[in-house]
């Protein structure tokens, strides 16, 4: 348990020291800024597509940190040192997912505030979006760590990560954006279910991937 805490704390400290958490946030805000330029500033159109745009932006923003979640620790021998100490790969994965979510989810929810204004979303949609992001970012963070472990050390890891992650994140996108639509009652529950499913699988998939990369 103390190992889990130590791992999460180290990853979190590195994330904030290296300003890694800023990158997805800036990307997210940039998309929200660019969109009105591209489709015009008509508030009815923006209000209709705004939620979907922000969910797509969140999905793409989740891709940005992938290259620094697992690969640097693998290359520096850190992951081997955990294993030698008898700390299981699954515990390492849980620590990394927790640290990554803290540096990814809350900043994204914060960025959604100005972004929703830029896209002219109303208060009710914003509230739904924030709730959705809180849940969805859990799934996205778990998926990002898993994919990061799967592609670590492979040539062209960045491009491969996108191809692997985006299809797996589609349920989050569909139900997250769906939850903003008042006529899709079950979407929010399904968003929660898909996020928790990703969260439940991630430690085992990540652990197996870390073990496999030693071979």
């Amino acid at each position: 348990m103390s190992a889990l805490f130590a791992i999460a704390r180290r990853d979190l400290a590195q994330n904030f020291a290296g300003s890694g958490w800023l990158l997805p946030l800036i990307f997210f805000l940039l998309v929200a800024t660019l969109f009105p330029f591209a489709i015009g500033s008509d508030p009815t159109i923006l209000g209709r597509v705004g939620g979907g745009v922000l969910w797509t932006a969140a999905l793409l923003a989740a891709l940005l940190p992938i290259d620094r979640l697992i690969a640097p620790d693998r290359d520096a021998g850190i992951l081997d040192q955990y294993a030698v100490r008898g700390i299981s790969e699954e515990v390492v994965a849980i620590g990394k997912i927790a640290a990554h979510w803290i540096g990814f989810g809350p900043p994204l929810m914060l960025a959604a505030l100005p972004a929703s204004v830029l896209l002219g979303m109303d208060a009710a949609s914003l509230w739904q979006l924030e709730l959705g992001l809180a849940l969805g970012s859990l799934g996205l963070a778990a998926l990002a760590v898993t994919v990061s472990a799967l592609v670590a050390g492979l040539p062209g890891a960045g491009a491969l990560a996108g191809l692997l992650m985006l299809p797996l994140a589609v349920p989050i996108l569909i139900f997250g954006a769906g939850a903003l639509d008042e006529f899709q009652q079950g979407a929010f529950a399904l968003l929660g279910a898909s996020a928790l499913l990703l969260l439940a699988i991630a430690p085992f998939a990540t652990g197996a991937a870390i073990r496999a990369m030693r071979e």
């Binding site: 130590a6 180290r10 021998g77 850190i78 040192q81 030698v84 100490r85 071979e215």
Partner: protein, 194 residues
């Protein structure tokens, strides 16, 4: 410490290449082994097998005691000052801060305690990795090329540290190309004539 290590008919296959087979070794507390052999013979693989980083496909390994592994990488956070980077592992190993300053002193790194790890030279980071092993207080040391990049003074310090660790009842297995004075170390030669 009551460390012990036994390898029975240990074999190592990497990809479809057999690196070595039928390796036997028994070390009691205070024992040491020196692994030698040409490049690519499987010295590092042997250490990684013992460290539990590679799955054992042939033979068996029994270990009593905790393991410290100093491999190719120092495994220290590059952006942190040396002392804080060491502190991360020392805390995970459940040792107090005194172990860090002792280990730094043993490897003549006390003056570099506040220097970021990325500024260390090759030999200095090798010494830092050895300081991590010393500070960790594990029973069994697995050292992969511990003498690489070390100057004469540092190599003497390494030999002293190994001798003291064995005197405390620890076990040392070192894989090396360099001459390393480890008295009465069991010689393990792999890769020759295989």
């Amino acid at each position: 410490m009551s460390a012990a290590l036994t390898l029975t008919a240990l074999g190592c296959v990497r990809g479809d290449r057999t690196l070595f087979t039928g390796l036997d070794l028994a070390l009691e507390a205070g024992g040491a082994a020196l692994v030698t052999g040409p490049n690519g013979a499987g010295k590092t693989s042997l250490l990684r097998l013992i460290a539990g980083l590679l799955p054992v496909h042939a033979g068996s390994i029994t270990i009593e005691g905790t393991i410290a592994f100093a491999g190719e990488h120092a495994a220290l956070d590059r952006e942190l000052p040396l002392e804080r980077a060491l502190a991360y592992w020392v805390r995970l190993d459940g040792r107090d801060a005194g172990a860090i300053s002792t280990a730094l002193g043993r490897m003549a790194l006390t003056d570099l305690a506040d220097v970021p790890v990325r500024m260390l030279s090759t030999g200095q980071s090798k010494r830092a990795a050895l300081a991590r092993v010393i500070a960790g207080g594990a029973d069994i040391w697995l050292l992969d090329e511990p003498g690489n990049g070390l100057d004469i003074d540092a190599r003497t310090r390494l030999e002293t540290a190994i001798a003291e660790h064995r005197a405390d009842g620890g076990i040392v297995i070192a894989a090396t190309h360099q001459p390393l004075a480890i008295p009465d170390a069991a010689p393990i030669e792999i890769g020759n004539g295989a």
